[in-house]
Structures are given as structure tokens and as C-alpha cells.
């Protein structure tokens, strides 16, 4: 039972999630805040926590932060293998929570899932924000293999060598256990995008996402490179593009949501206020 599993957890930002059964999959999610509903779709890291970014967003939005099947405390669907599986899962999730016209916010893999939702349900979302996204095909980019980082080098790449400042915040069970959790979650990612590392059909399908869109990029992204965000902004018909300035003049990193959550939350709040016709405080 969930309570037993959660009893010994005391790491930074840990909170007990709510759960809802989605087609047989016990789905963990966290919810807090007031205002228009925003669905926050996490990236490859940052599960099992109510992060400072969530908290900052909750000042303006009713934030719902689910954990994708195969991440955190949400198990995988038995035959899960592609993005359509996740689209169908989130369709059911949104109906189960009776959510109408939410804003979509996604980071990294979460952004890729978010665009798939917006592509499949063009009228269902009020806006979409992509933070350090990946998933579009870029032919001549320098290849960064996110599945080959030696464990001890991954944090440095995520935080542009500033990992000492944040690593303690991300440590959960510590040591080997955290590596094992990461490997299991990465297996879910591998099912989705080991080969190919991009969706060639986004080139044409993103035109269906005509709702207001914001693409937030890091200045020096050492995980997904520096071309993905710009290309998404190019392909989305109604987009703004924003680079978050890094801390103390150093370039921001792929881990910008951990390093600079308030700047991110402010940018999203400004964007939704400016782009959506009715903003209920």
C-alpha cells in the first residue's frame, strides 16, 4: 500500500503524492495552488518531489504535477512503448481529474509529451510552455548521447559544472539507490526514444499547435544541445522564444528548472497573462 512505501522517505522536497487509477495504472501526482490550472509535465529528472519550481508556479496557478508512467511512483502500463501510450494515459488522467482547458508546461521529455498532447487535442489546452525541450530532428547537430554519461559525469553536464550547488537537493535515497532509480526511469525513456532520438513527424505536426506557445531555452544546454529549443520555436506557429540568463553571468544549464525556478515561473506567468484572453487571479 502507498503509505507503507512512503513511510521512510525524508529527502529534500519529498511530499506524499495523491494517486488515481488510470486504466489499471496507479498514477501519482501532486496538486497545489489557486487560479487557472496548469499541468506540469516533468523531464527525465526531478520525480518524487514537490520542487521549488512547482511551489513558485503554485503562486499563480492551480498546479497539477503528475508522474509519467514509468517514472517516480507511477508504474508503467503493461505494453507501454510509445508517445501515443502517454497521450492516451494523460487524456484519461485529465478526464479523471475533470480538468478543462489547462495550461501545459513541460520540461525536456515532459515538453515532448506536452506537444504530443497539444497535437492530438488542438482545442483542449489554453497555452503550452516548453522548457529545454528535445524531440525534433536536427540533422547536423553535434551529438550528445544522454544515455552514455558515466554516472559521475551526468550531474556536471546537467548543471554546467555547478552541480555542487544543487546536487544535495536532488539526492534522494543516495548512492547506488539513486543510480538504480535513474536507470529504471531511463529505461522508460529508452522505450520512448532510444531509436530514433527524435520524431521526424513533428516537422509537420507542430503546425497543429496554434495555441500560444512559449519555448524556454538554456544558454548552454549540455544535455540536449543548443538547437532544439530554437527549432521548436521555429516550427510552432504561435511561439515566443526566451533564453533564461544564467546565475552570476554564467550560462544557464539544462538543469535550469532546478537552478533558477523563480525566473522560470515568472516567465511563464508573464507569458500566460499576456497571451490568454481571460486571466483569473
Amino acid at each position: 500500500m502507498p503509505d507503507e512505501k512512503f513511510a521512510d522517505r525524508s529527502w529534500p522536497y519529498w511530499t506524499v503524492p495523491s494517486t488515481v487509477d488510470i486504466e489499471g495504472v496507479t498514477t501519482a501526482y501532486r496538486r497545489k495552488g489557486q487560479g487557472e490550472t496548469a499541468i506540469y509535465l516533468h523531464g527525465e529528472k526531478g520525480t518524487r518531489a514537490w520542487l521549488p519550481l512547482h511551489e513558485a508556479l503554485a503562486e499563480t496557478f492551480d498546479v497539477i504535477a503528475p508522474e509519467h508512467p514509468g517514472y517516480g511512483d507511477t508504474e508503467r502500463h503493461p505494453d507501454q512503448s510509445d508517445f501515443v501510450d502517454l497521450v492516451l494515459h494523460y487524456d484519461a488522467f485529465l478526464r479523471a481529474l475533470d480538468v478543462e482547458r489547462p495550461h501545459l508546461i513541460g520540461t525536456s521529455l515532459g515538453a515532448w509529451i506536452a506537444v504530443n498532447l497539444a497535437i492530438h487535442f488542438p482545442g483542449r489546452f489554453a497555452s503550452i510552455t516548453l522548457i529545454t525541450p528535445h524531440g525534433v530532428r536536427i540533422v547536423d547537430d553535434e551529438f550528445i548521447d544522454m544515455f552514455r554519461f558515466p554516472y559521475e559525469e551526468e550531474a556536471a553536464a546537467l548543471f554546467n559544472d555547478r552541480e555542487d550547488r544543487v546536487a544535495g537537493e536532488l539526492e534522494q535515497e543516495g548512492g547506488v539507490e539513486d543510480i538504480l532509480t535513474g536507470i529504471a526511469e531511463n529505461a522508460t525513456a529508452a522505450l520512448l526514444y532510444w531509436n530514433p532520438r527524435y520524431d521526424i513527424k513533428l516537422d509537420r505536426r507542430l503546425q497543429r499547435v496554434s495555441i500560444p506557445s512559449l519555448v524556454i531555452a538554456a544558454e548552454d544546454d549540455r544535455i540536449v544541445g543548443n538547437r532544439q529549443a530554437a527549432r521548436y520555436a521555429e516550427l510552432l506557429p504561435n511561439s515566443s522564444y526566451l533564453e533564461i540568463p544564467g546565475p552570476d553571468g554564467a550560462p544557464s544549464s539544462h538543469g535550469v528548472i532546478f537552478e533558477q525556478p523563480h525566473e522560470i515561473a515568472q516567465a511563464i506567468t508573464r507569458f500566460t497573462a499576456a497571451s490568454t484572453p481571460t486571466h483569473v487571479a
Partner: protein
């Protein structure tokens, strides 16, 4: 760890010796350098000199061919990809070379990567072809592939085991059940599984594995050989014992040859000469070849969470860069010494593990050609005979397949298959007989009916 007792049933059956000499391309930077690339994934192929590559490959092939004259039981090939780790990225293509150049020795393709094929049917076809060309001498390994190969070739590690398992099932059926039949699987969908040619003999398969219970179960069920890839002697014995018990649960006593693993050997005139001559090459293997970080060796989903916990818990980061020859000898990762030392070492291996088949590795490709030929020659003259009191290789008494002469062809070929036929003068007539004047080629009058097709 203590070495448990082997539960192999004592047997008079002589131990079978497969032998290999791989074709690594060693002219690459030392792997301890800071910006080192992986020899399994992204070592730039700009280092490759076609002349040196030819030398390495020819040395492997010629050594493998020579094993037949020396009296070994199998010439073994391994498959490597994406780097200087080995010279034969298609073990079956290389096996066809051996099929042409040898007569009796088993050809051990160990082994093609099931998951690198679009479908196991492609693999089945190649197996059937080379088994026919070799007259029924092919033995096939079915490895999962190294984790690094999933990075290098782009196969998905998260589906690797499931896909491999379905592939094995389909492969076996394609090579043993009459076609055409359909296959409606999760990973493979075929409308017409109908492999032509069929193999010349019942193929022996080998399943290399770290010894997961699931894999051992598959090997036991299909009567494959289990090749352990573990290096710690106690764990090796433990998994062989488990495997043998699983075979017994399936209702049969396993053939001793169903248990096997690779033993690295180097024999010279004395222990001291052996160490002096080859010591550095073994250290090279461990400092350069067997070095990979865990994220490369274990891409996500490649191995179970439980196995991964064991791997990460047990010193996966142990510095191979500090390894010495004595470490290698003490851990029994290689048997290096005089003919007496090597003979005793092999006898100990066989006794402790109960294996009925030894895969001797004479070189990963690092030994210079003169050294390789010297050690193979010495082994064949002074070690192998200790295991062959009758003075003949096992193939002398193993069954033979195919035919060797036109006489044998005529005697053995099936007489119940249709003659190639045409319609002429109202009769179905035999094309081959029509070539000779005066011979009655008529089969039967043609009434427009359909002869029953053999099911």
C-alpha cells in the same frame, strides 16, 4: 567465495575443445587517456589501416583453419561491432569462409546478434545456408550482445530481452518445423515463414549468459548449451549447477557439452617463458579491452533492476588500469604457463565446473602472429594429446552430415520429391529425362487436375 561442488554426473565422455584466436585491431591509443573513446562504440575508424586489418583478419582465419589439422574439435568465431575490439562484425559471413577451407572441424559462430537482425528469419536463412555449405558442421551462439553494442548499433536495450526471447522461439521453429507458417508475435509478424534451404543437420545452439534464471530456463528447455560469461570461479560453478538442475527438471540429463565457457590460455616451454613472452598481452587485455564504464555496459533496461543492484554493489568501478599479470593468474582469468601447468589448469577447470566443452581463447588479437602460432602449435603437440588418448579428434566419431561424393549423393537424396516438370504432348514430363533422347520422360497424362501439394 568458496567454490561449491559441481553437480555434474561423472562421465567418460571426452571434453570437447573449441578454439579461437580473435582479430582485435590493437593499434589505437591507450584506453587510460583522458579523452579516451570506447573501443566498443566510438573509437574513430580513422585509425584503421586496411593493410593491418587484412593482417589481423588473415591471422585469425588462417589460425582457425589450422585448428583442424591440429586436431581441435571446433574453430570458434566471435562477433564484435563498432570498433577495434574484433575484426569480424558478421560471424556468419566469416563462418562461410571457414566452411570452404575446412572439412571436418565444427564451425562455431558465437555468435550473431539476434537483435541486430530485422527478423530472426534473416538469421535462419544464413544459418541454413552456411550449415549446408559446411555439410552440417555449424554451431551457433545466440548472445544478447554487449550493452555497448546497443549504443553502437542503435538496438533498443529496453526491449532487448523480450525481443531476443521471441526471436529465439521463432528461429528454432523456422529451422525445425515445416513451413509455410505464420508468426503473430509482439516483435515479429510474418505471413510466410518458409525458410529455404533448411539446415543440413540439427543445429547445436549455445546461449551465452551471466546466468539469469530466465536464460538458464530457456537453455534447459531448448537443450541449448549454456555458456557462462561470468569470471568468478565460484559463481561459475553455481550457475552451471543451477543449469544442470533445470535440465533435469525438464526431464533429461544434460549432455556435458551443454556446459561451457571461455578459458584464456597461453602455453610456452616453461612457466617463466610463458609469462615473459605473453604477460604484457594479458595485461593489455584487461587494461584496454575489458574496460568500460557501467553506463556503457548496462544501458537502461538491458539488465534487470536486481542484477543491476548486484553489479553496482560489487565494485564495478574496480580499477582495471591497475591490474597486474599476477592478479590475472590468481583470479584464474587466464591459464599461462608450461604444458604441464596448462594441462593441470584445464583439468582443474573441468573438474571444478563439470563442463564438457572448453572454449580456448588463444588471443584477443593482441599477440603477434609468431607468438600466436607458437603457442597454438605447442598446445596442439603437448597439451591437447593429454586429453585425447585415442589420438584422434572427436569429429572422427561424431556423426557426419551431407554427402562427400556423387555416389553418396545418389544414395542419400530423397526420391519422393516431384520431378521438375513441363507439359508436352498431353503429358506431364520430367525435364531432366527429356534431355536424353529415347528415354520415356512421361510422368502421367495431364487432365488439368492439381496434384496434391505436400503439406
Amino acid at each position: 567465495m568458496d567454490i561449491p561442488a559441481s553437480n555434474a554426473v561423472p562421465t567418460d565422455k571426452p571434453v570437447e575443445f573449441f578454439a579461437m584466436a580473435e582479430s582485435a585491431y590493437p593499434n589505437i591509443p591507450y584506453s587510460g587517456q583522458k579523452k579516451s573513446k570506447s573501443i566498443y562504440v566510438d573509437m574513430p575508424n580513422g585509425y584503421f589501416d586496411p593493410i593491418q586489418g587484412q593482417r589481423n583478419l588473415e591471422t585469425e582465419m588462417e589460425t582457425l583453419v589450422s585448428f583442424e589439422k591440429h586436431g581441435f574439435d571446433g574453430a570458434m568465431l566471435t562477433e564484435q561491432h563498432n570498433g577495434p575490439i574484433g575484426g569480424t562484425p558478421s560471424v556468419l559471413a566469416a563462418a562461410s569462409y571457414l566452411a570452404a577451407k575446412t572439412e571436418r572441424i565444427k564451425i562455431v559462430a558465437a555468435g550473431p546478434l539476434m537483435n541486430a537482425y530485422q527478423s530472426p528469419i534473416r538469421l535462419a536463412e544464413e544459418i541454413a545456408l552456411i550449415d549446408t555449405l559446411s555439410r552440417g558442421r555449424l554451431v551457433v551462439g545466440l548472445p544478447m550482445g554487449l550493452g555497448q553494442q546497443y549504443h553502437g548499433l542503435g538496438m533498443n536495450p529496453a526491449t532487448a530481452r523480450e525481443r531476443h526471447a521471441e526471436g529465439v522461439e521463432l528461429l528454432i521453429k523456422a529451422l525445425s518445423q515445416p513451413g509455410p507458417f505464420t508468426w503473430r508475435g509482439k516483435y515479429f509478424n510474418h505471413n510466410y515463414v518458409n525458410v529455404w534451404p533448411q539446415p543440413a543437420h540439427p543445429i547445436e545452439f549455445i546461449l551465452p549468459s551471466g546466468g539469469s534464471i530466465e536464460t538458464l530456463g530457456v537453455a534447459a528447455k531448448y537443450r541449448f548449451a549454456y555458456q557462462s560469461v561470468l569470471s568468478q570461479r565460484g559463481m561459475l560453478v553455481s550457475t552451471f549447477n543451477t543449469f544442470r538442475d533445470l535440465c533435469r527438471k525438464e526431464g533429461y540429463e544434460p549432455d556435458p557439452r551443454q556446459s561451457t565457457f571461455v578459458v584464456e590460455v597461453h602455453v610456452a616451454e616453461t612457466d617463466e617463458i610463458a609469462r615473459q613472452e605473453a604477460g604484457a598481452t594479458y595485461v593489455w587485455n584487461y587494461q584496454n579491452w575489458f574496460r568500460a564504464h557501467a553506463a556503457d555496459s548496462y544501458p537502461p533496461g538491458y539488465t534487470s533492476a536486481r542484477s543491476m543492484r548486484g553489479i553496482l554493489g560489487g565494485n564495478y568501478q574496480i580499477g582495471m588500469e591497475k591490474i597486474t599479470l599476477q592478479d590475472i593468474i590468481d583470479n584464474k582469468w587466464a591459464i599461462i604457463g608450461s604444458p604441464e601447468t596448462v594441462t593441470a589448469g584445464l583439468e582443474e577447470v573441468i573438474r571444478e565446473t563439470g563442463i564438457g566443452r572448453v572454449m580456448l581463447n588463444f588471443s584477443t588479437g593482441i599477440k603477434p602472429r609468431w607468438m600466436l602460432q607458437k603457442t597454438v602449435g605447442l598446445f596442439a603437440e603437448q597439451v591437447l594429446p593429454k586429453f585425447r588418448p585415442a589420438g584422434v579428434p572427436l569429429s572422427d566419431t561424431d556423426p557426419r552430415y551431407g554427402y562427400r561424393t556423387t555416389l553418396e549423393y545418389q544414395a542419400k537424396r530423397r526420391k519422393d520429391v516431384p520431378a521438375p516438370s513441363i507439359l508436352r504432348d498431353g503429358y506431364l514430363q520430367d525435364v531432366h529425362k527429356l534431355a536424353s533422347p529415347g528415354v520415356d520422360a512421361r510422368i502421367r497424362p495431364w487432365k488439368g487436375d492439381d496434384e496434391e501439394i505436400i503439406a
